[in-house]
Subunit: 354 residues, 2 copies
């Protein structure tokens, strides 16, 4: 198999060509004891899942398919994204991400050296996250273009420590009136990076594609009681906040201009008429803490590399029983004292950002 | 949303259109307590995973992406297939399938009523298998054709009962010289059904797409010690047997004509020059038992609806240390007393059968 080889339908046959691809690409990057057994299903020993041999009583499970185009973008590629996206989802439930499955759907024509570099990036991110890829699957389909393409599904399993040291409440319905809402950094970077790449606009914008492990770990280490947390992906902060507010039956007030946005992202949004509140990130989260924990939470997250721009963006209000269904769940208090309704994303957004 | 609506890119935005699709299609078919919480990750309580409250110490995990074309075929559809394929993989490890994740990648243009009927079929098969769909994900991509398309990833989690009542050895390296090899029914049905549909050949062939639960349950109930078992999918029986023989360092002898093949499948193979040994099934398995257990194993599996044509197809031989690497791992003893080498599938096979 030479470096300019491409994937053909035979690589998806289940026969010797599949075996060959497995050995020369996948096994080389993903080698571990569990995967090496090459069973139809991987066997996980829960007695080895937690340090000290405690048995987890609960698991967190998440699944995500990644269809981003282009496959490689400023700040990352689909391999890194496939790990960060699913690991972050598991993290948001309060569990420690531990095992991952990985399903590749490859369009014939994909360069094997590109596949190889994406697998290297995926394996690096998995190591950084401390997760083990326990089983995989590869299918090859006819390509839309001669250059092929790639989609990746990852499903993640996390363990809740029964000692509870690292565990946050695993329900999104945890917002309490009076809570402070905090974002872990600037909005819209990933979305803006993909959009720029797709439109051929040259700028300095990089995707923020990253593991949220340091942020969650910092909050846990500081002993902060997090009332709810969610990563900000498709649909943007506005959509996430609407879902959180609905689940908790509260109203959310945002302060205009409080959420950080990189100057280059702001410029792109101005040019294209986009609102960063509706743009997806891949390495940012929003979380709620009691107002009395706000200062400690900010300090602990700002001490992390990816959380330096952490900022308070608003607060949780009581939703009066007398409020109509049409009253906004999320609104922004503008600088001149007015209010602006912030609904969930309606319509298309930018497809294939993750 | 009317019945002739089609999927658009907006359904993959993560905004209100996504939410709408979730409520009108997915939630309707897949409703359950775990999914209803709509978290980023589902929480599974292992204390409820086994009857009687015993805690599983080991899990089996498997992942599979389904890209079959056409989406609906004689004997099933991609929804049923996505359950059977992954559940069967978990079953083959000796674990009881319990939880499933489900990732949909939809090509814009897909009819929503077709998606709905596929989800109904998927949900039916999940109920029959006794598995709960605990989390899902939907992405929409640009379609290759106006009619759209659909790919589904399912990842399955099974639990090993520490009491061991239902557990089989979870390693493929269990073949012992002298073992009898048994297939649970006729070869090639699924492959032949897809091939016929794709080539526009009219015949009576139906896919054998089915859960293998009754076969595994029957063997366990009869107290048979199964040395190894594998479902027969891509690459066919020949490829599966080569993998099993290599893992166990044994040689396998097949008896010519012993593996059942439906007359219509045999006719199609004759017409197209195909060998049923290399054709995929989606509801058949091969397993090995001690020769002394052969009669009891045959009787117990033949008593199931899907195992009526169960047949002994060969036996396991000692692989002499003096045999060269080039000596076949699997060979067929022909009716006139000769031998024929049976290698693993080489080359393309038929793509997109699963």
């Amino acid at each position: 198999m030479t470096s300019d080889s491409v994937i053909t339908l035979a690589h998806g046959s289940g026969g010797l060509d599949s075996e060959n691809l497995m050995q020369t690409v996948f096994a080389r990057h993903f080698q571990n004891d569990i995967l090496a057994r090459l069973e139809d299903a991987a066997t996980l020993d829960l007695r080895e899942a937690l340090p000290g041999g405690a048995m987890p009583q609960k698991l967190a499970v998440s699944t995500d398919s990644f269809v981003v185009e282009p496959l490689v973008f400023p700040g990352g590629d689909i391999g890194k994204l496939a790990i960060c996206g699913t690991v972050n989802d598991v993290l948001m439930s309060g569990a420690a991400p531990k095992y991952l499955t990985c399903g590749f759907i490859i369009e014939a024509g994909l360069s094997i050296s590109l596949l190889d570099s994406i697998c290297a990036s995926l394996a690096d991110a998995a190591r950084e996250a401390g997760v083990v890829i326990v089983c995989g699957d590869t299918k090859v389909i006819e390509g839309k273009t001669q250059n092929g393409g790639l989609m990746i599904n990852t499903s993640g399993i996390g363990v809740f420590d029964p000692e509870g040291a690292a565990a946050f409440p695993p329900i999104p319905a945890g917002l309490v009136p009076g809570d402070s809402l905090i974002v872990s950094g600037a909005l819209g970077d990933h979305h803006a990076a993909i959009l720029s790449a797709r439109m051929g606009i040259e700028n300095e914008i990089q995707s923020d594609c990253a593991l949220l492990t340091p942020v969650v770990t910092a909050l846990a280490a500081a002993g902060i009681s997090v009332h709810a947390m969610r990563d900000i992906t498709r649909g943007g902060l506005a959509t996430v906040l609407n879902e959180l507010a609905a689940a908790s039956s509260v109203t959310i007030e945002l302060a205009e201009g409080a959420a950080p946005v990189q100057p280059a992202v702001k410029a792109l949004c101005g040019l294209l008429g986009l609102d960063p509140l509706y743009m997806g990130n891949e390495g940012k989260m929003v979380f709620a803490v009691a107002a009395s924990d706000e200062t400690a939470a900010l300090a602990s997250v700002r001490a992390t590399e990816i959380g330096r721009e952490t900022a308070v963006i608003g607060r949780v209000l009581l939703r009066e029983k007398t409020e109509t269904l049409l009253a906004p769940r999320v609104f922004m208090r503008t600088s001149i004292g007015g209010t602006r309704r912030i609904d969930a994303l309606y319509g298309e957004g930018l497809p294939r950002i993750c």
